[in-house]
Symmetry: C2
Subunit: 209 residues, 2 copies
């Protein structure tokens, strides 16, 4: 599935690379301000002053547009799809098995660049978009299937996120050795039981105030 | 190496805030280039063109100077000291119990600022210093006490670091909710068994090549 299909049409196409950039800028602005779920292709098209069909033409689905906006050159559904098929008792293993090879690939570079800009605090919309992605997509998709302590919100999946983000940091950003040189299977196998405990293990109850 | 000895003027005290800054700049440069263990107070003093006694006067011990250079306004020994007294079977609990309250305090702000600059990739010496701290101090102090798989280096403690850095990211940098609002004890109690597994639990053996 390609996000950026630059298919040439007969005659002068209505979308130039300038149009494409304008759509992307509007998408980043709206995703950052309102999150993913509350942002429609129609609203993005309207903000960019183009027809919604053109947005679809350039970027495909809303998920694909979001991926392009956040510089993840893959559709989030390539991760979310398989997770939906995975029994909850295996997500602790399957999640890092899906994500680490993605991060290792050349495709991961764009994501690391986004993460750096979040961390530097220079681009607020990047931080908002990553937060939206983690909260709306991962938290909703995975979090809705696990049994959180009453009244505490979707905490289980957020502990999972904390471990996965920590792997990104230790391996790609801080490049700690030997961590950065470990094989993908060694990392996956080592963290999987901990992720699974966060998802389905017994967790301490939060103390009453 | 910058040697600035042209600053001495009669009638002024040998230590001005300018001198202090110069010591700090030399310290950052040498710590980043050579790590903590290979950098002496004497070398820093020499690079800054001052007497070693003045470095001690301003910053105390080498550890305290390192803390100042990396913008952690506490001596790393306040964390390392108690850890040395802690049986290895309790470090998974004691480590986050020491670190989270530090991060929550006002003192944690400087550290978050350093982390942001690491992530933005703008200040290479910050990244090198954090890497030195994690590798030389935490990895050596804690890692030397646990039983790593043969030939794999200090991997156990690095998985611990990955989880702790992930907590910092999720809570303070990305500010995921509800994660950012959970109580310190809830986070400590939830991650402690996972940290302890990394330190003393059974981990998968790395596959032979």
């Amino acid at each position: 599935m390609t996000i950026n299909s630059d298919r040439k049409r007969p005659g002068r196409p209505p979308g130039t690379s300038d149009t494409r950039d304008r759509i992307l800028a509007s998408a980043r602005e709206l995703f950052a301000r309102n999150g993913i779920h509350s942002t429609s292709i129609r609203a993005i098209a309207s903000a960019a002053g183009v027809d919604p069909a053109l947005v679809h033409h350039y970027f495909g689905t809303k998920n694909q547009l979001f991926a392009a906006a956040i510089h993840i050159p893959v559709d989030p559904m390539t991760v979310i799809g398989p997770l939906r098929e995975t029994p909850v008792e295996q997500i602790g293993y399957v999640l890092p098995s899906l994500l680490l090879p993605l991060w290792e690939s050349e495709l991961g570079q764009g994501f690391m660049a986004t993460l750096r800009s979040v961390l530097s605090g220079t681009d607020v919309s990047d931080a908002s978009m990553i937060r939206s992605f983690l909260q709306e997509v991962i938290t909703t998709e995975v979090g809705s299937r696990v049994d959180d302590p009453p009244g505490s919100g979707r905490v289980r999946v957020q502990f999972v996120i904390s471990q996965m983000v920590g792997v990104v940091m230790a391996r790609y950003i801080l490049a700690l050795e030997p961590f950065a040189s470990l094989s993908v299977p060694q990392i996956v196998d080592t963290i999987a039981p901990n992720l699974q405990r966060y998802l389905t293990g017994e967790l301490p109850q939060p103390a009453e105030d």
